[in-house]
């Protein structure tokens, strides 16, 4: 027993260092602007409800002449912005929408002040309040925008970074071997149509683009360590991208941790990605689901599904339920 120890200790240490080196560090909460954004979101909803439900009292309170429909329309706008802010993970665009709304409110107040029958002292107080909120909105949206840039590649502005891990209950050699045959990748990467190997290091990739189109690029392997790691980058094509997948053995019985890091420049730059995110296309969630399909296929030999099973007549709610599906 005593003699066995020195030989096992270094092995343990080695696997410990490997795991610590290769697993990603915990994700820091960089978005300090988010709590402020949430506050503004709730403020929007509160104000919007007041405008919608009690437009007349509100008009009297801020000293403008009664224009119920206009105030109610402003209420609807506020509520929409509020919901947008509260439901999006990165609500930058919606906070900017608030800034626009503030400007509109201020100009409406200015117009109201010129109308006869308005209480200009009250309007001035209301305008000061709106100006205060505008300052907050501006500060918040700028902070959020900075946070967005920080999560894109800091050296190459416009690139998106994605990083995901998944524990797979199979040996690293087997996972590496399957992945290394790139023509297998469309089996679990849902956005890929095909990958064709052109020679030992190069391949041609075709992915699904928006509205039935496809995007294509050539890629080359930049680093290849058997059973450990494969790195690639695009050489030319529609989407500039690069990445690395690592296969890290876990201690006995826990299989292998697969870690993917990817950088890519979406066709329409960072704005395109932001627009995509606004409509719920989360690159991170996509990579997560691709990895999950990989895990399931490697562990069970199939990918579980309910596509094609029977059901009674479906209502419209079912489509809504399926809409959130990142897979």
């Amino acid at each position: 027993m005593q003699a066995a120890r020195p030989s096992t200790a270094p092995a343990n240490q080695r696997s410990q260092t490997m795991r610590a080196d290769v697993l990603p560090p915990p994700r820091r909460k960089t978005d300090t602007a988010l709590p402020l954004a949430r506050g503004l979101g709730w403020f929007s909803i509160g104000l919007g409800l007041a405008e919608l439900v009690a437009p007349r009292q509100l008009a009297r309170f801020i000293g403008v002449t009664d224009n119920t429909t206009l105030i109610q329309a402003m209420g609807v706008r506020e509520i929409a912005a509020g919901i947008g802010i509260l439901t999006q993970r990165r609500p930058t665009a919606w906070v900017w929408a608030r800034v626009g709304g503030d400007a509109l409110d201020l100009s409406l107040l200015a117009a109201a002040a010129r109308q006869p029958g308005s209480d200009n002292t009250r309007i001035a107080v209301a305008a000061a309040a709106v100006a205060g909120v505008t300052a907050l909105d501006l500060a918040c949206s700028q902070q959020l925008a900075r946070a967005n840039w920080a999560s894109a590649d800091s050296e190459n502005e416009g690139r998106i970074n994605v990083q995901k891990t998944m524990a797979v209950n199979r040996p690293a050699q087997e996972l590496y071997a399957y992945w290394h045959n790139f023509e297998n990748l469309p089996n679990f990467m849902k956005h890929l149509k095909s990958v064709t190997t052109t020679d030992a290091r190069t391949s041609h990739w075709v992915a699904k683009g928006p509205a039935g189109s496809s995007v294509e690029w050539d890629a080359e392997v930049t680093e290849d360590r058997p059973n450990e790691l494969i790195a690639w980058r695009s050489t030319n094509g529609d989407v500039e991208n690069s990445g690395v997948v690592r296969f890290v053995p876990e201690p006995a019985g826990r299989g292998t941790i697969v870690r993917v890091e990817m950088k890519y420049t979406p066709p329409a730059g960072v704005v395109g990605a932001m627009v995509a995110k606004l409509f719920g296309e989360e690159p991170e969630q996509q990579v997560q689901e691709d990895l999950r399909r990989f895990k399931r296929f490697m562990e069970t030999g199939e990918i579980p599904t309910i596509e094609g099973q029977p059901a009674g007549p479906r209502g419209s709610l079912y489509k809504l339920l399926k809409k959130g599906d990142p897979a």
């Binding site: 209950n169 562990e299 069970t300 030999g301 579980p304 309910i306 094609g308 009674g312």
Partner: protein, 390 residues
């Protein structure tokens, strides 16, 4: 084929739908001979489990005959008579390797949905909302069974009737795991809230595992009678007796060694807290009503175990966590790892230790499923368990 479809709260209909097909190599198609309504189906029926969709086929307690096999299923043959466990498990993942089948990492196609709601995803379950896969269930003429090489148990003894083995699919193992989770020592006292079918099997199993006394709590005379006469429990009608006080008196002031909540998220209770929970749940301010869980925690002896086979879906409030922490309680729960219990419990049925069919009060045709749900939900006609035949 005919199938029982969900169309909203208190609206289930037997409808004609397409027959199921093999979709994956490890699938099988089962022609169903017997299927049951589970107490947990009532949570779907009442509309308290989120992500149910119009047209979903219900049912997770079923058995029948294999009529079609995918190319990957080698251990079953066409014509085999099988009971199908309600959780779907791949047999290959980290959790299946530990025999924690209801935690299978691979069987829920909607894992992303469960991860948003619960942090992580459990296994897929037949006919039990899209959170756990959206799989079509077995209150139908046929069902597709994924990972059929892992789940279904073949019943080779033709001397056993459907009614004797059907409940291996869920409620017998569920009651058994609830008792096993209590870590029962010889002559322990166990209290069981809820004398529905799972409660009955929990009582019976607690005795099998060495309990000296089991005290069963309910308010319906027919259920209390079944607990007394069929499985040998002492009974407590909570409409007549104060439960906490009575349990103390019955155990020398110490409380039961273990408490089992076989009721779950729609527990009924009286008084202010009862009204409070009902209003909050109806307004969707809390998804689940937890009076039984609260009472089980308060009642359990110091250092004892609270075991929860009852289903909960979301969030609860006013949990007496101070009582739980300061008195060193243990809580054990989970969807049942049915696959783990099939063989040993089938053995107990075969050697005559138990005949699970004692819980059945109603037998009907599949076409009458809506009526079955109605009487089971409203405890009419002394309904305790409904078995249907397609």
């Amino acid at each position: 084929m005919k199938a029982t479809c969900w169309h909203g709260a208190h609206d289930v209909r037997v409808e004609n739908v397409p027959d199921p097909k093999i979709l994956n190599p490890r699938d099988a198609i089962v022609k169903i001979t017997s299927t049951a309504i589970c107490g947990s189906d009532l949570h779907l029926y009442d509309g308290y489990i989120p992500t149910m969709a119009d047209g979903d086929i219900l049912g997770h307690e079923f058995m029948g005959e294999i009529v079609e096999l995918g190319s990957g299923v080698k251990n079953l043959k066409i014509g085999d008579r099988v009971v199908v466990p309600f959780p779907i498990a791949c047999g290959n993942c980290y959790f299946c390797a530990k025999e924690e089948y209801s935690l299978c990492e691979n069987s829920n196609p909607n894992a992303w949905m469960a991860e948003k709601m619960w942090g992580h995803s459990p296994s897929g379950i037949f006919g039990y909302s899209h959170l756990v896969g959206g799989y079509a269930g077995g209150q139908a003429e046929y069902a597709r069974v994924p990972f059929a090489d892992v789940g279904p148990i073949k019943i080779e003894n033709s001397g056993l009737s459907d009614e004797q083995v059907l409940f291996l699919s869920d409620i017998f193992p569920t009651g058994y795991m609830a008792a096993e989770n209590c870590d029962i020592k010889p002559d322990d006292t166990v209290a069981v809230w809820g004398c529905g079918p799972v409660g009955q099997f929990a009582i019976k199993s607690a005795f099998m595992l060495g309990a000296g006394r089991v005290i069963a709590i309910d308010r319906f005379p027919e259920r209390l009678r079944m607990a007394r006469e069929q499985v040998g429990a002492e009974t407590l009608n909570y409409e007549e007796f104060d439960v906490l006080d009575s349990l103390k008196e019955m155990t020398g002031g110490r409380g039961p060694d273990a408490c089992i909540d076989a009721v779950g998220m729609e527990a009924h209770s009286h008084g202010m807290m009862g009204t409070y929970d009902k209003v909050k749940q109806a307004m969707r301010l809390q998804s689940d009503r937890p009076p039984v869980l609260r009472e089980a925690i308060m009642a359990c002896r110091n250092g004892g175990t609270v075991s929860v086979p009852g289903v909960y879906g979301g969030f609860i409030d006013k949990m007496p966590f101070g009582s739980f922490m300061n008195r060193s309680l243990t809580i054990k729960t989970g969807q049942t790892h049915v696959q783990r219990y099939l063989r040993p419990l089938l053995d107990r049925i075969e050697n005559g230790e138990i005949d699970p069919s004692f819980v059945i009060t109603h037998r009907m045709r599949l076409d009458d499923a809506a009526h079955g749900y109605d009487i089971f939900k409203n405890k009419e006609e002394n309904c305790i368990k409904v078995v249907m035949h397609p």
